[in-house]
Structures are given as structure tokens and as C-alpha cells.
Symmetry: C2
Amino acid sequence: MWDVAEELKAMLVFAEHRYYGESLPFGDSSFKSPRHLNFLTSEQALADFAELIRHLKQTIPGAENQPVIALGGSYGGMLAAWLRMKYPHTVVGALAASAPIWQFENLVPCGIFMEIVTTDFKESDPNCSESIRRSWDAINHLAATGSGLQWISEALHLCRPLTSSEDIQNLKDWISETWVNLAMVDYPYESNFLQPLPAWPIKIVCQHLRNPKVSDQQLVQNIFQALNIYYNYSGQAKCLNVSETATSSLGTQGWSYQSCTEMIMPFCTNGIDDMFEPHSWNLQELSNECFQQWGVRPRPSWITTLYGGKNISSHKNIIFSNGELDPWSGGGVTEDISDTLIAIKIPEGAHHLDLRANNPLDPQSVLLARSLEVKHMKQWIREFHASPKTAVLGYF
Amino acid sequence: MWDVAEELKAMLVFAEHRYYGESLPFGDSSFKSPRHLNFLTSEQALADFAELIRHLKQTIPGAENQPVIALGGSYGGMLAAWLRMKYPHTVVGALAASAPIWQFENLVPCGIFMEIVTTDFKESDPNCSESIRRSWDAINHLAATGSGLQWISEALHLCRPLTSSEDIQNLKDWISETWVNLAMVDYPYESNFLQPLPAWPIKIVCQHLRNPKVSDQQLVQNIFQALNIYYNYSGQAKCLNVSETATSSLGTQGWSYQSCTEMIMPFCTNGIDDMFEPHSWNLQELSNECFQQWGVRPRPSWITTLYGGKNISSHKNIIFSNGELDPWSGGGVTEDISDTLIAIKIPEGAHHLDLRANNPLDPQSVLLARSLEVKHMKQWIREFHASPKTAVLGYF
């Protein structure tokens, strides 16, 4: 956005989503009662954006008759696409980067996400994904031995030693999420989105996982070396903290609530097409957790009812861009739907790489994606200026 | 709908709007607290319809891959159009009959509604509208005399005699609303929408208002004869009740609340372009009344922000039909917006005449309108069946 704004003579506006950052409708108690949380929905967020755009047009000199384009990545990309779908009078088009608008209900196979994570590691080195696949049993075997929990805790340099089988499950979930995050941020240059990381971090991580056929102990020690790339690239960490996977705050409370109400994304693994322990999608389990944590239960069909699922061809002027390394591309729109609902694939791209600032190490594919995106945006702006304007008259 | 359903092999579904009829979310206390009324919005109603359509498709054998068309008149017509705008994946098109989607904010002049009412009476007989225009002062003059209130009460056969100047204002409002209602239901045959009425009731009413240049007393007596057509066509009424303008229940409580929150329609009169006493649009007055009655205040810009106001050209497959006798046509879409956003005008039509059952006395213009509507509906259905279907797969 920063790079393109000048070329398009655009004003940049970053709208903060309600219940994130400083936009807390009930201040410190916003997350303390289900009644305070009733206003946290994607629909309400879109309404905020529509009101904000109207307000800006009415109050900023010269803004009234200018076109607006929505841009966003990830959930923000879904919102950008949905804003164009629900308020087409408000934005002339939307760039939805890495927006998994189909990661709902049964629109895509629930295993696709973890399959893409696996592919990223496998394409770096088949021994790497195989090492990870074997690591779960290695942990399970060691955990079943007398001093196993203590040994693992030390081998992984955990800040708090493991003491129960529940801790082991949490450990494996945390390790899994680390591999997921690495797939999301497998950028071609040093970056700091979820954690400070080297260029192409999966390649670096996989240098420690070249041999799957070692002893359980050796495998866990190798896993530590790999994890240490992700959690300790800075070299400052004295130990690894199983309760954290990202350093920056992405509004985990808000997303946790939304994942319990609207944003119900089925995920599953089978251990064959992916490198994880098998886990089927369990809505009832989620529902119970959500009720316990937030006093609400999920509405797994609502997003597709509201936004149309795969039946969105009546809309216009949305670009869906996806990096093929990004596991979220599995729930994204990766084929053109029409002349004006465009899919852009970025083979060497991770999670919304195209939205990041230009970088000398950018692969050719993301440069091409960005230039296509700008081409479409310019087209939307031209169409806006070419269309007859509705006279805005004050009649009172 | 009944006449056309068989031809289109259609199932008819009448969806009841929440807070109307028997659809009361909090039963008898639905209207007793602003907290119970928070769920009464047009957006929530549209969401209900989207959920209902999904439910019907999932539960009625053979329904799943069939197209759905939304039809409605008046507010129901607005909802039909808005459903197509907000949930285009749910309905392939909409017939919005007499839907004043532009009777909001300053999209049309606030006086247009009463001007059309006036035109209806004037075109029947210029002396008729002139008699009505003069009647207000006649009432004011008489009311200012010693026994004036009693005299007017008797001349108009009121069930409850007038006792205050506030009563006089109520009386004039009630008479005005009667003329408005007559304009809405000026149908070419006997009907019973708001009241049992003869064919072309304005013509009959105006037979009693042929001479505006009579004494105040004679004018009021003539007004009584005219009112008596509307309120006593059956001949059963012993007196006229100032607190009632319609016999059938149209859900006045629900609409009263909605008129205080979202449905803010500015109306005004100037006594020159219309036959009423001058009255400017006063949002503050409305706001205070709303706060007193419902504990809420209006959001006069929200409907245009939400549904786009005049900027709706990105949508497709909506027919806006309007009778030119209907005062609501002033806030309606009466010119084509595009090839697929169609306006149909019915010169001899009152309020959604096209949605009424076929009648031997139907004028040619409404027959033409209905056949055009069916033609477009068939086209939407053809397009639906011609378009590639999204495979609905169960992945779990």
C-alpha cells in the first residue's frame, strides 16, 4: 500500500477492527462478558468501515467524489472482499490477499491446510517432513518412559518442565503450530511478522532435520535445533515457552471469540497426506470449549449463508491473491471466477507476501502479482471516473 | 404470485417478518422494552430470509438446486430488493413492487409524496383538491368559534367529540391520512386493503367535493360525505373514529419502532404544490417522539449507508414496479438503472396493484407490467439453469 499509494495519488486509511487494538467498545471489560461481546461480528466490522468511509468522504475536502479501494490480508483480506460484496456502493473494488474465504463449512477439504504446510517442508527436503512426521511418536515413546518428561523438557530447553500427559499434548500442539507459522512466514528475506526470522526460514529449519532415521532422542534434539531457529533467531531466548508462538500481538482475544462464533474453520489431519498426528475435525469439542471459555456456541454455517460460499459470481472487482506456499491458500480463491473476480497465484509466496513492502529479494512472481494488482486497481478507478455520477442534491 | 406460480412451476413461500404477526421473539413482551426490540432491524429480517431459504433448500426434496425469486410490495418490496442486493447468492432476482427505497435522507424531495396524493385528487377534479386545500382553514375558522368544536364533531359524526386544539390537530392529521390512504388504494375495482372501498374510490369521494367556494360549514359537511365513502362504504359505521385509518392490522407497533430507528422517511408539505397545510420536515421533533415512545432515537443516514442510496448500479436482476397514482412512487425507482435493474411504470396503478390478483377490471397497463415481470423472471430462471453449478460436496 505504501509503495503504490503515491503512484495512485491515494490517501491511505488504516481502519482498526472493533475489539482489536484500542477499539474496545466497553474498555477494559470488553472481553469480560458475552453481553459485551455481542457486538463483535464481521458484519458489524463491515458496517463500521462503511460508516467510516462515508464520514471521511463527508469531512475531508475533495474526498467526496473519489473512489475507494479496500485492501487487506488474511482475515483483513476476507473483510476487504466481503466489504466489496456487501457494500459495493462504498468501494469500487477490493484486493483480498491470502483471504481464506472458503475455509468454512465443507467448501474445501478440511485437510488441505496441513497438507500445504507439509508440502512446504517436503519440497525443502523430503527428509525434513519425514523427520517431523516421526517426531510425534518419538515424543510419545520418550514421554512413556520413567524420566521421559524431564528428559524432553531439558532437550527442548523448555522454560517450564512438562509434568503431565496433558502437557505433552500441549507441547505437540505448540510444535505443530510452529511448523504452521513457519509455512505462513516462509518469506524470501529476513522478516519479523510473527517472530524475527531469517530468509526462507523453512530451508534453515530443515537443515537440522535431514535424517529421519535416528534414535528418538536424537530426533527430539534435532527438533529442538529446528524450533530454536523460529524461537531464538535473535539468540536472546534462554528457554522456549510452550504458551507462546508469536511475539507480536495480533489481537488473540478478539480472534479467539470470533473463532467460537462466526469464524468456524474446519481443520483435520490424517498423518498420511500430512506430517502431523491424525486428528479429525470435531465441532462438538470446539463447541464445548467455546461455551466454557466465552459462554457461546459456534454457528458453523453462518459465514457461508451470509457471504455466499462458493456462489459469489454475481460480484465484481475483487482480486484474490494467494501465495502457493501459504497454507491459507487452501481455503482461498485460486482460480478466476469471472473477468472481474480475479485470482492471482504467487508460486514463491507465503502469507500475503504481495502486501509487504518491496524488497530486493522479492521473487519475480510477487513483482508480477503486484503489478497486476495495480493494473486492476487503475482499471477500477478509470471505470469509476467514466461512469455517470449520481447527483448529490440536498433537498431539505 | 398465485396467478404466476403455476406457470413458473413455483413453490410459494410467505415469510413472516420478525416482530410482525406471530413472529414475536419475546412473545407478549416483545414491544415492552428497547432491549427486546434491538433485534428488530431490516438487516436481521434479511438474515432470517437467507436462513429460511437455506433451510428450505436443505429440507425440501428437490429444492436444493432450484432458483429462488424474492417478491414483495411496499416495505416488503424494499426487503425483496435489498435481499437481492445483500444476498445475491440466495435469490436470482427480485420484484420490488411500490418499494420506496429512495424515500430516505435527501434522495428525493421531501414534498414529492404529498404532491402525488394531491395530483391524484386534482386529476379526478381540480375542484376536489381545491376543496381539500380550503378545508383546513374552514376547520380552523370553525374551531375558533364558541361552539365550533361541538359543531365540527357533529358534522363529521365523530364517535368522540373534540374538546381541545390538540384534538383539532389530530383531526386534521387523521383527515390527511385518509386522503393519503385513498391515493394508495385507488384501485380500479372494489377492494379491501385498508378499508372496504368502491372501484376508483377517489372519483367517488370527489363527487362530494365539487365546489370549493362554499361556506366553511358546507365545506366541512362535504368533507364528511367524502370521508364517509372511505370509512363507511359498508354502511355499518354509526360514527367515525379519529384514532383509526385502517381496519386490517398491518403490524403498526413493529412499523412504529422501525420508523423510529432505521426507516426515517422525510416528508413535508408547503400548501402550494400540495393540498395540505404547510409542514416542514422536523427530525428533532421525530427524534423526541421516538425517544418518548420507544426509548430510541433515529439514525437518518443508516439506510442509505447500508443499502447504497442512489448508487446501486453494481447490482443486477431487480425489477422496480411503481403505480403512478401511488404516492410511494415518489421515492421509488421509476427509470431503468441498467439492463438488469428495470423500472416498470403503471400509469393507472395505485400501491402495488401489480401484485394483486388478476381482475377483469385491471387496466391494460398493469397487465403489461405483469407480463413484463414474468418475462424477466423467466429470464432469471433460464440464466440460473444455464450457469455452471458449483458442486456441493461434503468433505468431512
